[in-house]
């Protein structure tokens, strides 16, 4: 399976030539062909890098949603050992859009929780395209409490178009489930490391994304709403999603500049989908480092630091104080 995004085409064309040259060279290894393929390789790398350095916000959205981009289960298996998937909220159902369970990162047991969108159509349907039902958030809540009981750091991976907006979700208290998670994560007495690995939209992402450290993969997005939803609100037309993506400041560099996130995790050249195992390895060592550092902080301090961190976020004028900058992480 190969997927070429519009803006990747210039690089893809070089790639096509490169592949042809490689084939030729294999059949007939002349010095000319060898030189040619070496040039093409360099061109491809340079062009890809140039494209990915200059991604527009809307292009970033495309990369964040790339069908071959690694997803939570890829990290659960590639980044962790001993992952045991836990199912169910003990109340109503097992939501497949959120997966989670204990696992190890660099030998250290953690509780891993993330949204998973699925790849094949059948799996995507089963997982509601990564839009969790209240059951998913309640399963996550159960796992957060289990993590606290057994003093396991929590690692969450965000990748969702948003919480599921169906009538059944409303009947079973989607808003209530989200709020309960925000409240619980705020006071969890274990380290919590949150990573946006793809698309992190709205309360549906945030409900597993409150923690001591908030990371974004380089080409992931984090937004108050999907660009389409924001466009529906602002332009009354979802077709303005690219414009919304521009306005929303949803890319990792923008959000780091606004001090709304703590850290950007670099992706391989050409994005995580170009080299999933390198991406997974990078995230593993990044998360392991974050956890190791947070584990030196006493639990009371961890909780009060986390409170202060969120307490400060926001931006307003106040006559009795200087105007606050956005975020002051």
């Amino acid at each position: 399976m190969s997927v070429v995004l519009d803006f990747e085409r210039p690089a893809a064309e070089i790639r096509t030539k490169l592949d042809a040259t490689e084939k030729q060279y294999a059949a007939n290894p002349t010095p000319e062909l060898d030189a040619q393929r070496i040039d093409l390789r360099r061109d491809f790398a340079n062009r890809t890098q140039a494209i990915y350095r200059a991604l527009s916000p809307w292009q970033t959205v495309q990369v964040a949603r790339h069908p071959l981009r690694p997803q939570t289960m890829d990290y659960a298996i590639g980044m962790c050992t001993d992952f045991v998937e836990f199912h169910g909220d003990r109340v109503f159902g097992d939501d497949r859009a959120i997966v989670g369970g204990p696992a190890r990162i660099d030998g250290r047991p953690v509780m891993l929780v993330g949204q998973h969108r699925g790849r094949e159509t059948r799996e995507r349907v089963e997982r509601n395209f990564g839009s969790p039902h209240p059951e998913g958030y309640r399963k996550a809540h159960r796992l957060f409490e289990l993590a606290e009981k057994f003093a396991m750091p929590v690692v969450t991976l965000m990748d969702t178009p948003g919480a599921s907006p169906g009538l059944g979700d409303e009947e079973r208290g989607q808003g209530w489930a989200l709020a309960a998670n925000l409240a619980t994560l705020a006071t969890l007495r274990v380290p919590v490391v949150c990573v946006v690995i793809g698309e992190g939209n709205s309360g549906g992402a945030l409900a597993i994304g409150v923690g001591d450290r908030f990371l974004m993969l380089e080409h992931s997005i984090f937004s108050v709403a999907s660009p389409e939803a924001a466009a529906s609100i602002v332009w009354k037309d979802a077709k303005f999603a690219p414009q919304a993506a521009d306005a929303l400041k949803l890319t990792a560099p923008d959000l780091l500049r606004l001090k709304l996130i703590d850290r950007i995790v670099s992706e391989p050249v050409g994005g995580a989908h170009a080299d999933p195992s390198a991406m997974i390895a990078t995230l593993r060592s990044t998360v392991a480092g974050e956890i190791a550092r947070l584990e030196t902080v006493p639990a009371d301090r961890l909780v009060s630091d986390r409170y202060e961190k969120y307490r400060r976020l926001g931006s307003w004028f106040e006559s009795s104080r200087p105007a606050t900058p956005v975020g002051s992480v």
């Binding site: 169906g166 709020a179 925000l182 409240a183 108050v224 606004l258």
Partner: protein, 310 residues
């Protein structure tokens, strides 16, 4: 104060307001009955014919819930900024909209908070108002909610939050989103002190407000007929193609589905809240546990505005 009758014809579908009729009369937003404006206002804008609860301003809420002259609004000087420089192509920028919104509504933001007494009980009260930017949760609203909880902690006051909101304010992007985490954390910190938090959900309470502080109350009270939910009806229908059955996402629907403790008419809210605060405060504030009005502490240095609203 904002004109009670400013919502003009034609009535927008889903608008829970009422129509202006010259001078002394107002038309009920649900049953279309002509009502004598003064009587209607005295009945807290509840239609005597059909029980329709029209939307209230912040001043109306204060008058409904607090003891006369007890309201001290705090930090009324908080003003929104434009943290993202939100300038959507071909549409008014956030900065422009903020200017218009203030002129239209005569308000500086979508929430107020402060001290007051309710049946003599010291409370910290925060109120959201649909009249400014659809009551959306942005930095100023988030900050005021968080301060309302911190006021509760500092002065051992029960917290009451009256919600009315379209959700998170898109124009503040992630800065708005993160207010959900901030307010939920504040509610949680307040709860750790075992002080009571009474959440009142009014029409409409949606999105990021439903998904954060508004549903974290020790007791959740909803106003009759209020639309309450996470995804708004339009989003549900657009996304899923499902047509919502009549009455979906009303206060009564949420009661049936186990999400709110009671649906309480306006006229009964104050007495019920007082009763709840006394029941929940017995172990921490035994002295409050009488109907004798307690005196209100004064002198917090950062009081910015004090207004008696009747």
């Amino acid at each position: 104060m904002r004109n009670l009758f400013r919502r003009a014809l034609p009535k927008v579908a889903g608008d829970a307001g009422q129509e202006a009729v010259p001078d002394l009369w107002v038309r009920c937003g649900r049953c279309r009955e002509m009502l004598y404006a003064r009587e209607w206002a005295e009945a807290s804008k509840v239609c005597p014919k059909c029980g329709f609860h029209a939307r209230l301003t912040i001043g109306d809420r204060v008058a409904l819930l607090l003891d006369p002259n007890s309201w001290q609004e705090l930090d009324a000087d908080l003003r929104p900024t434009d943290p993202l420089g939100f300038a959507p192509a071909g549409r008014p920028s956030y900065a422009e909209k903020l200017a218009t919104e203030s002129l239209d509504s005569g308000q500086s933001e979508a929430a107020a908070y402060g001290r007051g007494t309710l049946d003599g009980l010291p409370v910290s009260l925060a109120i959201l108002d649909m009249g400014y930017f659809a009551g959306t949760l942005g930095s100023v609203v988030g900050e005021k909610i968080a301060r309302a909880f911190e006021l509760g902690i500092a002065e051992r006051r029960a917290v009451i939050v009256v919600s009315a909101s379209g959700g998170a304010r898109q124009q503040e992007g992630v800065v708005a989103l993160i207010q959900m985490a901030k307010t939920a954390a504040a509610a949680q910190a307040f709860g750790a002190d075992r002080l009571p938090f009474i959440s009142i959900l009014t029409d409409p309470t949606l999105g990021g407000v439903t998904a954060s502080f508004a549903t974290l109350g020790d007791c959740i009270i909803a106003e009759p007929g209020a639309v309450i939910g996470f995804a708004g009806p339009r989003i549900i229908e657009q996304t899923t193609g499902e047509k919502l059955p009549p009455g979906a996402q009303t206060a009564e629907f949420q009661l049936r589905h186990g999400m709110v403790d009671q649906v309480v008419a306006r006229r009964d809210q104050k007495a019920m809240i007082a009763r709840l605060i006394r029941l929940f405060s017995y172990s921490t504030h035994p002295a409050q546990d009488s109907t004798a009005p307690a005196s209100t502490p004064h002198g917090e240095p950062r009081v910015v505005a004090t207004a008696g609203v009747q």
